[in-house]
Symmetry: C2
Subunit: 311 residues, 2 copies
């Protein structure tokens, strides 16, 4: 059997191999995604974000177990923010998902951002599509909330779940800095810690400011490690899904996501063409030196490079 047949039969190894090939930008793998693209659209994608240490992995783990009980097939993609300089992953805790990894209805994948300064790499989107084709009913995309990556999660998710822990001024600060607006559900994890009610209140007050919206994100207290509130949290996800479906919002959101993804692909390809052409001619180096000396201004230099692509 070839890799496509094996993928469609639910072979996890074939699935893993295809994603690796996509990470390496192999043409064969991209051709497979192209060929099978009409099989996408069935999976429901849940983005999970939150600061390091907020317990996202444990929470994803527990939600997955709930979904398994309900007979669902689940994919988990954990985005590791890697340094663009050292390319080393900072989170080694994915290993604790191992008890799930053996289940034939769970596929787990950790992906680095590979020094792509844009955060979530194109390969992540591809991986979501592969898991969709693979037959997952639900796909979790878990990312660490350090700025760009939560914003990138918008590009793949149908529902965005933000995990917050009590008593961390930093989290609220982060929420204010643009994350608040993208979350569809807030889960206050480790809610047996002091300050959980205060954190809930703060988030609710912030939400009051956005009352114009038809959908109001629920804020619920949970404790993933104690397995408390997991079923309720899953119910909130289902509720959000129903809201989107009944109001024709799911399609709108997916079209917006496709648009962002398409633009990113275009951007990447254009930059590749540019780098290729301008490095070949040493033009980029030459112009960078001249800009530094003040011998040419960056705007004029830019036009020189733009001309390249039109030839």
């Amino acid at each position: 059997m070839n890799i496509v047949e094996r993928l469609l039969e639910g072979d996890k190894k074939a699935c893993a191999r295809l994603i690796s090939k996509l990470e390496n930008n192999e043409k064969e793998a991209i051709d497979i995604v192209k060929q099978l693209y009409n099989r996408t659209g069935n999976a429901y994608v849940i983005g999970i974000t939150g600061a390091p240490g907020s317990g996202k992995s444990t929470l994803t783990n527990k939600l997955t177990k709930e979904l398994l009980k309900q007979g669902k097939k689940v994919g988990i993609i954990a985005i590791d923010p890697t340094s663009p300089f050292s390319q080393g992953a900072i989170l080694g805790d994915r290993i604790r998902m191992n008890d799930l990894a053996l289940d034939k209805n769970v596929f787990i994948r950790s992906m680095g951002t590979r020094g792509s300064l844009g955060g979530m790499s194109r390969a992540t989107w591809d991986a979501v599509k592969v898991l969709d084709i693979f037959g997952c009913d639900y796909i979790f995309v878990e990312t660490v909330g350090v700025g760009q990556s939560e914003i990138d999660i918008v590009k793949v998710a149908d529902t965005i779940l933000m995990v917050v822990i009590p008593n961390t001024g930093d989290d609220i600060q982060a929420i204010k800095a643009g994350i608040m607006e993208i979350a569809d559900i807030f889960a206050i994890n480790k809610s047996d810690l002091e300050g959980a009610d205060k954190t809930k209140l703060e988030i609710e007050m912030n939400l009051d400011l956005n009352e114009k919206n038809e959908y109001r994100p629920p804020v619920i207290k949970v404790s993933a490690s104690k397995n408390q509130g997991m079923r309720e949290l899953l119910e909130k996800i289902y509720e959000h899904r129903r809201f989107l479906e009944e109001n024709n919002e799911l399609e709108k959101r997916r079209i917006r996501n496709s648009r962002l993804q398409l633009l990113k692909l275009v951007e990447d390809e254009l930059m590749e063409i540019i780098l290729d052409k301008s490095v070949k001619d040493d033009l980029l180096d030459k112009l960078s030196r001249e800009i530094t000396k003040g011998a040419i201004d960056p705007y004029t230099a830019k036009n020189r490079i733009i001309e390249l692509i039109r030839r």
Copy 2:
């Protein structure tokens, strides 16, 4: 007198107006930068980064006062991370710089990132160049360390100063996530707080791992609000500058920065052309819908758009 003459005579209002015009992407202003670009390269640019609440503004304030005593002209650009969704600035504390704002040798500017998902906007680079032309000896670019923005600061700075406060596990986490590598100097601010020595030790241990480098970033304890260690910190900045200059590293760094800036300009222009053309034809919308339905794959859709630009 026209705006150029006034700028060159040190008129702060002319300087402010030019930067505003650049923020609004006005052609006239870009033409002025182009025309005066050969006057750039004299200012020394110091990037200041660190978590919210680490006291960056106070520290910048105090360093500026030291520089003023030494007869220097100083520019300060404070980057406010604004939400890409609400476009509201989260930091209102710039106001405390007001006592400096009246000094004729200080120019202070707060800039939003204007929903540009890339963090630091092109206008920031332009503002640095305007302050350079304006005659500033030193320019501080202060940004809040929330991921992308510290990485963007690399694109403009000659020296990068990272401000850390004691006893915050989060800071160390952030440092590990890629910031460590870009800092040239570490200032442990509020160092009268418990844990300052421990934080210093942790940073030093991290630096030990990078011993291969010729230059080792100093880690010094300061207290900006108590005006302690400011002269020493300034001396460290001078030392780093001397190191760069004596080893021909300053030019290399500036060429690298020019290159990043040039690529960003190219990228922005290409995306503008693409959006312009594809929105006109409704092509982007049409393709995004088809991708969502699975009627076309994103790679084929991308090629359709790339063809546009070549026409």
